[in-house]
Symmetry: C2
Subunit: 426 residues, 2 copies
């Protein structure tokens, strides 16, 4: 190999928009799978759900009180009570087997089925039960006239039979699962979560949990990527350290693909140096669709496809790794999982993992036209402050930072006082 | 029992602030436990972490280029190259064993240790390697003068030895775990997650996954509470359906406590009716600290303590259950897990589970002074719209809603056009 070429950097770098557009075109949500409601929190619903029963399935009391015929209360008022016989009581678990006749009432609890014959409820606050000694039948005095239907929850009042209760694509909330349970739904179709393999390349790296030793440093990308993927509901199937040799990288990719992963994150060896085997190996096994992006600090990022499955070539540099995940890998993984309708730069939209706020800049941010910059910043109550320029290798800058600002490719930077959108890490 | 009393409702209701203050006083974060980094995503760090190694632990290249003595470049310029012997190369995984002398350079890759003798790097972009045929030693032409230290990442530049890198109480980000891994930390102390038992009372209820049948409806609270607790990082240890009998409720509470749960959520039977055994049973086994809160729709909420462990009496009504969770149980559970510095109403602070936005109201919201209202709302791009008043039993209102507005106890409501804070469910 010509030593000039192997150290010269990328001949050209794709615009961020080109990379995002490629992911948008080539990545689709995974097929559906059917799971129990207990497994469904925060999953993405795969189909519309239609109510096969009405909720409530029977007329029920909306308040504690007395179930009766409304017509028996028409003469009642605060000054002049109507008095009825109390012939029983009904609880949610214990229906009333008889029928309510004229001048009769049944004590009823919220949620209990309305007894036959009754058509309204007088709430307990407008009633006074009288139980004279030695009289077998209790009586109730009512101080309010009620129309038929008052305080009765009618059949289908909450959910009508046949109604579409939830739409496909819904990010399932806790209360959605409650509604589904009410409807008698026990299992639902959801978008399958992407299974991801993480490959870590770099002979200088010791596995997470080791102590740095001599010139060997500890891999920090795999644990960071695992946590990011966990946040994005993409179970990590395997984490493998790979030797810096083309055969080793090739074998690791093939093994991951045999294990039916939906995406592979290959960290390290993604650039154009002589130890950067990943791009060539991906090109041999499938397609190296894009290599090198006009973004700082994640320029040596690449996208490949093998058997239609995306392979992300992620810079080994830890800040670049985070940047590449935030801009490209995260949206792609969320798209696979049905969580992201469009693959685009964070814009403050609701489907992003980071909350965002608008704040004025305290200091200048310099950038270059044609390159997108991912700038770590601190946030105060009144402004935002770029961290002193630090290399992509300074991972601690991302723990000191409160979030990041994106300087778009069209911009040469932002001046003091200019309002920018900050994406908050927390 | 006097039938008047048993249906009369609460003699008085505690202000929401009183309930929150009680939880604030009596609930503290759980003790620490030590776990592997792989288990630590999104956990709460238990102690400050100090760097026991410097990062980087050795001087390293910040760019691809040539390691050399800066003094050998002082005469170089774009017009007039300095030419040095290339005596070897150094990669991150493969240190250079020799020493760089005068007029010598070593090819170096980003991240590789700076060879002995070298004190600066000329980047590859300012160099041109020449390899004349039949000459054993390659040479490099340099077009840039660099001062000592240029493009060298010094020892401790990222993290100094002894520096506090993360503080106790930190909600661990993906990149924090990367930093910890870099430092050789494999296990960390974190706040233990609360283990929670869910007890569901109500003879009319069928277990989640059943189809509603006759007058029996399906329990929707347990699955909703499970999902809420999962979101709040509180593993659910057990979900048990309990008969509407005092002995059954008592036995279920004792069993849960024997299994070392940190909190119990008891749904149903929390009010003052004859089937509402929970308050009396809790009072018998421990302390019923508060029963009845001035909030709509979760008035029949209560807080008890048995052996210092909180028991939450949650209304069976599903919307009231959600409201009680959002206002009281969630903050308490997050506090147990070290996730919440103060137990207070959602206020838009960053530690809340719901994002919030400010928007003007389209329609009036009516409330009552002395009572806090939890109002489900829809949100448009320009305003917020309260859902048509619906009973606490209408769980589908919480799936149709985009979020909720809290009308404080001091207020009788909000008028059209008034700006309110909306807490978004998604």
């Amino acid at each position: 190999m010509n030593p000039d070429v192997r150290m010269r950097g990328f001949p050209s770098r794709a615009a961020v928009a080109v990379a995002l557009n490629m992911l948008e075109q080539r990545i689709s949500p995974l097929p559906l799978e059917t799971i129990a409601l207990q497994q469904a929190p925060a999953r993405i619903l795969g189909t519309d759900i239609t109510a096969e029963v009405a909720i409530p399935p029977f007329a029920r009391a909306a308040m504690d009180g007395y179930a009766l015929r409304a017509s028996d209360t028409f003469a009642a008022s605060a000054q002049q009570a109507s008095e009825l016989d109390v012939i029983g009581e009904v609880l949610p678990g214990r229906p009333f087997s008889g029928e309510v006749g004229t001048n009769q009432a049944v004590r009823i609890m919220t949620g209990a089925p309305l007894p036959r014959g009754a058509d309204a409820i007088v709430p307990v606050e407008a009633a006074e039960e009288v139980a004279p000694p030695h009289v077998p039948t209790r009586r109730v005095r009512l101080f309010e006239a009620v129309p038929p239907g008052r305080h009765v929850g009618q059949i289908g009042e909450d959910i009508a039979l046949g109604a579409v209760v939830l739409r496909a694509g819904r990010h399932l909330r806790p209360q959605d699962l409650g509604v589904l349970a009410s409807l008698g739904v026990g299992r639902i179709p959801v978008v399958r979560q992407p299974r991801v393999a993480i490959l870590i390349s770099g002979d200088e790296l010791l596995p997470c949990g080791s102590r740095p030793e001599g010139y060997r440093i500890v891999d920090s990308n795999s644990i960071m990527l695992q946590a990011l993927l966990q946040r994005d509901h993409a179970p990590v199937q395997s984490v493998v350290m790979v030797r810096d040799q083309p055969e080793a990288v090739s074998e690791a990719l093939k093994t991951a693909l045999r294990n039916s992963v939906d995406a592979i994150l290959l960290s390290g060896g993604s650039s154009v140096g002589q130890e950067d085997h990943a791009p060539r190996v991906v090109a041999q096994l499938g397609e190296l669709a894009l290599h090198g992006v006009a973004v700082r600090p994640a320029a040596p990022f690449g996208i490949g496809f093998i058997h239609d499955r995306p392979i992300f070539l992620i810079p080994g540099n830890p800040v670049a790794c985070l940047c590449a995940y935030d801009l490209f890998v995260g949206p792609a993984v969320r798209r696979l999982g049905g969580r992201c309708s469009a693959i685009a730069l964070p814009s403050g939209a609701r489907d992003e993992p980071y909350r965002s706020i608008l704040l004025p800049l305290r200091h200048q941010i310099n950038s270059v036209v044609g390159r997108l910059d991912y700038v770590r910043v601190n946030v105060t109550a009144s402004d935002v402050n770029p961290l002193a320029p630090s290399g992509g290798s300074i991972l601690s800058s991302t723990t000191r930072a409160d979030g990041f600002v994106l300087v778009p490719a069209e911009s040469a930077g932002h001046g003091p006082g200019e309002t920018v959108r900050v994406f908050l890490y927390d």
